[in-house]
Symmetry: C2
Subunit: 369 residues, 2 copies
């Protein structure tokens, strides 16, 4: 059967390996597996949220409130915007999909850093877009500007801080760049890890309200998957000018969030103390990773997120390291698929990290031989 | 800002009114509201599934197993197909979206009954498709055939049984029709309510394996939202030829099912006894609705689902009936948006239905005056 020709350029996205697969393929016991591949919150979901969901589990038969009134009100309050400026997605991924579909068509151009969140390009290809990428892996706004001027793209993606590398632009430099961009260009500021960046360095903090007020052509994306510890529940949001948000609603499938996801997100917003504590611990533990890299003599990228990227240059091959860790039950993300000889490790809990260093010692020793 | 011109033809889907909205707008107490508007399973989710989810709620921070190995294996076993013939969606809705996107492009034609599931046309419009509709509201295969021959559409949608009307084609007549259709035309057999139809009349039962073996251009859709009582958890599936399923995977966003949804679906498949009991009670209670309509002197459509459609002809205006029920805390679906002067009522539990008849008596009396 013939299909839409745009699909010929589409590949299947490869997610981080799940624990179940490592149990099946390598026979490691489930309880011994440490998964630090998908930047989940290693401290688990807030016990208050877990309790709420246990109470509400009996409501699974019922469709969610598709108006998402309560969650949109809560986010509106948190960010001091109107709920009409808010749209909820099945992860912020889904908002990316809506945005590309709303703005682009075949041969539209979308501009992004060379090494950034893979879904920008994947959703782009589904619509037949051409991805323009900077020469540098990390965000380089001079290169963004040059490409913008040369190609006048329909959309620009800024991942602040950037996944999978971890670096983060300053708010002021972002604003300076955006001032040069036409109001017809749709800007996406992906703030999936903003909670971490804002804690580490206030200069990195992007305020959604300020952003969309200064730049009505910009949409801010946030998620409950990282600091809010609901990676498995698929809840993200977009904040933007009402005209843009209204257009995105045309593309939102009904009931795009589950009944329990909606309740979990509402509850998670109430437990800010838990989120703050997780972020504090994250950066305390990150120091140990930085010291480990220094000790071993390879470099890392200064990270404003809940993960760290170890660059192996010509010392090791990232796929070998990732594979050997996997066989020992430690799942990390090999960045080979991004054409980078590096691994990305989610900053785990203290006990997990201690084990990571121990196993990594063994693996690196073995690979040296 | 300019958007993709295809969106100009897109409308926002209006879901059934949620309980929260009736509480907010009409001040009815939450516990007094009876929601029979979205064809949820009124007996609630199986207690075994609820218990499992309560145990697993602590895993909300973790992304689901994106390979969905266990659920695909379980569905493969249930339907005696290979797991490579199975794809999971956030509701069968999402599979409809994948199918249209995979097969169609601007000006593609999609054929369907006049009054059928609204999402076929909604997703179609997002891709710029033209919807061809039969003259009759209910499925009329002669009209399907005539339109097929005249227009040679890229896709044909058969909703068996049909939502929102409730009628159901026989398997044999479906097969006879499909034999006349080119293998280049993608056929969608939407079996969202098949469990109900198959119980009521075995002639209506479509076996997915038989269907896709006879017609490799057909995809069967099933859902956990109805008989399996997981409407709020957004899990559906498509069963088709491996080549089609593989193509759909290119369009599947990673982690399109939540961690708890995946676990709930796996568990729900194990409690077949619960499903059977719900279906039995459904048809026992449906008889009361049929008798009620007869007593009141208006007609209904013989239904093979968990809802019934009351047609008011020139006796009442469906919107008036639905609105007056709403103000009294009973939510049903006005079919005005489908251009039909009828209401669709989900068959509730015995106590709920008793109250519906009582309140409907009052409402109809009032409207007669």
């Amino acid at each position: 059967m013939k299909f839409n020709k745009l699909l010929e350029n589409c590949k299947i996205y490869e997610a981080g390996k799940p624990i179940e697969l490592v149990v099946r393929e390598y026979g490691v016991k489930q309880e011994d597996i440490i998964k630090l591949a998908s930047n989940e919150n290693p401290y688990g979901t807030s016990t208050k949220v877990v309790k709420k969901i246990q109470e509400l589990a009996k409501n699974m038969f019922m469709y969610p409130d598709d108006s998402m009134y309560e969650l949109k009100e809560a986010l509106g309050e948190k960010f001091d915007v109107n709920s009409k400026n808010v749209i909820i997605g099945a992860g912020s991924d889904q908002i990316i999909e809506f945005l590309i579909k709303a703005k682009c068509s075949e041969n539209s151009k979308i501009l992004m850093a060379k090494t950034t969140f893979a879904m920008y390009e994947i959703y782009g290809r589904q619509e037949g877009c051409v991805a323009l990428k900077t020469e540098d892996g990390m965000h380089n706004l001079e290169q963004f500007e040059a490409l913008y001027k040369e190609h006048n793209p329909e959309m620009i993606f800024l991942c602040i801080p950037n996944n999978p590398l971890g670096e983060c632009l300053d708010k002021e430099e972002v604003y300076k760049f955006l001032e040069k961009v036409s109001s017809e260009t749709l800007i996406v500021v992906d703030g999936a890890y903003q909670e971490y960046a804002a804690y580490k360095d206030p200069k990195k903090r992007i305020d959604p309200k300020e952003l969309i007020t200064k730049f009505p052509n910009a949409v801010y994306l946030g998620t409950f998957s990282k600091a809010y510890a609901l990676g498995g529940m698929r809840v993200g949001y977009g904040i933007g000018d009402e005209a843009i948000i209204k257009t995105l609603y045309k593309l939102r499938p009904p009931f795009n969030i589950t009944t329990l996801s909606l309740a979990a997100a509402i509850e998670a917003l109430k437990d800010q103390e838990f989120v703050n504590e997780c972020i504090k611990l994250n950066f305390k533990e990150m120091k140990r990773y930085e010291e480990y890299a220094k000790k071993k003599g390879f470099s890392y990228i200064e990270s404003y997120t809940n993960f760290i990227t170890f660059k192996f240059e010509n010392k090791y091959i990232s796929s070998d390291v990732a594979q050997k860790l996997l066989e020992r039950g430690i799942i990390v993300r090999d960045l080979k698929s991004y054409s980078v000889n590096a691994i990305r490790i989610t900053i785990g809990r203290e006990d997990q990290n201690t084990k990571v260093f121990k196993v990594l010692d063994e693996v690196l020793d073995e690979l040296k031989k």
